[in-house]
Symmetry: C4
């Protein structure tokens, strides 16, 4: 009895967690399609003209998918070797978040929009489809971003303090003019809008001094936007070069070999 139970668990585990068997592949494709439909429905539901016409269909589809996701979540917990490890893992939490808002929505309103968080499950597309090349590419990206974390942190901290100081100056300059700089936090918001070169134009200086100062801020922003770009390209370049540095030649101790080289490019020794 226990044996067959074990077998049943093992087979389900293979279908749900792996994509090597035809059944496993089918499961993953169906899952992705369900996620896409679900996210699309939540989005369309928020459009009032569509909601008033197709609202009941949307509701049925969503409840159907929510129940399927709930069953899938329970099966994932049951079939995995260490359920707690899965539950508190990155994907475990996302899988739970994908079902909860609908149930909570029974009691509290406006939480159902959170169902769009289901789109995070789409990240699984990388692991499911074993897109090794893409995963490799994204690993490089993540490595570069991790390596530049400290520098980007310092940079953002400095930009925030600069925004506070500049925002206050702008508030003093334009505060009396009727141009939207009604408070310091709003002026700081405007400084960020300007320095990131977004520039909505909902708030814009109208006095001559304000426009002069705004020009200075923009030219400053010109130089500032170059900094994170410089950091990321520099880190990314060094991350990309890394695979070269692992082999050492026994003969001449040359270390900078090309990736996958069989022989030392300096003395011809077999690596």
């Amino acid at each position: 009895m226990k044996q067959s139970n074990q077998n049943w668990k093992k087979r389900l585990h293979e279908i749900i967690y792996e994509a090597d068997t035809p059944a496993g592949k089918l499961f993953d494709v169906v899952l992705l399609i369900l996620i896409l439909i679900s996210v699309l429905v939540v989005m369309l539901e928020s459009v009032e003209t569509l909601q008033s016409v197709y609202g009941s269909y949307f509701s049925i589809i969503e409840w159907g998918i929510t129940i399927l996701f709930t069953i899938e979540y329970i099966l994932r917990v049951v079939t995995v070797k260490s359920p707690l490890k899965y539950i508190f893992s990155w994907y475990g939490i996302i899988d739970l978040i994908a079902t909860l808002p609908k149930y909570i929505g029974l009691f509290v309103t406006r939480t159902e929009a959170l169902l769009v968080l289901r789109s995070l499950r789409l990240l699984r597309v990388f692991t499911i489809l074993k897109l090794a090349r893409y995963v490799g590419a994204s690993n490089d990206l993540i490595k570069a971003i991790k390596a530049s974390k400290a520098k980007i942190g310092v940079f953002i901290f400095a930009v925030l303090i600069l925004s506070m100081v500049l925002g206050t100056i702008m508030y003093i300059i334009e505060g009396n003019a009727d141009s939207g700089f009604t408070s310091i936090p709003r002026s700081i918001y405007w400084i960020i809008v300007t320095m990131t070169t977004v520039g909505y134009g909902d708030i814009a200086p109208v006095t001559a001094l304000g426009q002069f100062f705004a020009s200075l801020v923009m030219i400053m922003g010109y130089g500032i936007i170059a900094v994170p770009t410089g950091i990321v390209s520099s880190e990314y370049t060094s991350v990309k070069k890394e695979p070269i540095n692992t082999q050492v030649c026994n003969n001449c101790n040359e270390t900078r070999h090309q990736y996958k080289a069989n022989f030392c490019h300096n003395c011809g020794e077999h690596l």
Copy 2:
């Protein structure tokens, strides 16, 4: 008879497809001028004030050029060795697209604007004028873009999922305020407008929380915009360095050797 037919075909082929003879050069220059006139006329036609005055002239010019392009297309098909290969080639399809919309326009309205697709024919300028230097430059660009395809794909996929999640949060924050965040798709549109630092300002947050959250999104966009730039500059730098790889191993025909390598990194042969 067949001989002279062959000769006639060969001469036309030289004029149409090559630019070495004076006749061929003249043909290409006339062609480019016709394309430019044609594109200009289609654009001006869409300006109502001009269309109401010069409409009939525009119509005559367009029909004239369309007929000339049709003749050119037929001659291209006739004179080329393998007509089918040309018809389904990149330039063959563009050449067809350059004439069709005008004829279809006889039956269906509003398709004539597609005649601007004729501007794609201008890409021929590179091959026609044998601008080797420019083509070389564009090849480098295309190589760099191709090399960074997978990474840019991963990046755009991640940005889209992030946009969905952030757009939903913004919809929850600003949905009740009268500031244009009327649905989730529209909020996602706003997130993309903001993160790419375009910032139209047609939709802009008005609540304090919304502006605070928008500031976070903008600073995030700061870092995010650095990523594709980093990828492209990194790839472009390595593509540019490639010409160094001129050595070929006599033993294993390996070509991708490291700069200044003395021995083949693949088989150990002295270079």
Copy 3:
């Protein structure tokens, strides 16, 4: 007597200037919290709806913190070895600026907003928490920015002259249309708004020629924005590579050797 006075000074100096003892750490954390509260209060005070309700509380908190900062400033001056050196140091000036505006505010209005300059004191977070890694990261940034100072200076100078010329041309083109280009300084402001890709939209061309010229300016701005980015990434990459220079020549004490050099490039000594 003098001995105990000396001891008292020494202990206070340790608490205020260093963060190695528990008392010193506590002092620094309390200081940071007070700065944050103070900055927050000044910001909220500028929001009229909050000021009318909680104005008196804000006033009390601010005066309390100002008095504490004044006491701290006096203690810093008293306990330091060379008071004048501290007073005219970077942090000494910031510490003074953090207290003065409140006192001046008794006689002159609207200066209290300058209290946001207190946020500059937050920069102390780096030295206080001994965030060596972050300080290292910020040193790299500062070095790269310093190295690219001359080039960025030339670049901004050229951009300003270009803005003047382009702004004048735009003023001539759009000056008569009712589109906000009412004077040359305002047109220059618009050119800067456009070339930095901020694009508020408070001023935008309406004539066909103006929009054509604006398109040219934008495409130009495309290329121009690449220049500071290129400078900073290039400098940052070379700054980052510097740690390689660890070898010192025994003969001439030259330190800036090329990576993997076998001989000193200055005197020929074997390294």
Copy 4:
């Protein structure tokens, strides 16, 4: 007589063209101040509120400076060895442009704004003040920009054709909605505003399909803006590295020596 005439010319040439003597330095500084005053006056003149009050003062200052510039121009032509070479040189043309508009303004209106072109004379600041370091920096910039000319040319050509095609598609999508896409040229203008991430918001899509298509264009623009940045940083990095490649070691033929190295870093041979 001729001797003294020659001497007089030589002394004037020294004062006007060189900055080594005290008189020459004084001349240059006075010239720069006059240019700055002149440019400032032309700008302020275009502000109507200032022009109506101080108009007559502005007019007197401008005529004074114009006459001084005319005298300077004549002296420059007279004292230089080959007057024609100067007249048709870059600075010669700018110097002429700095005086002409005022005289033409006597007969034709609205040309006086062109006097802002005088700001181009400020470029002389680099050569006058012998700012070797800054000139070096700007030479690097100019070299990098020249080296990337062909690639940037190809890039801009491709972007323009892309803009035409995308602009036409947007015109077809949004042409019927009341959102400003009234003609193809205007839609192309909008595409350029969007792809360069300027985003004025004077024209913005209102239909769902239009906003979806706009999102695609923006994300495309994300990748596109990375290309010129990549080109410039890559070229700039190679321009900066160039001084290294001039020396070749007589002993081992090593070529990649550090800038200003006295000995080969590979074999210790004196260079």
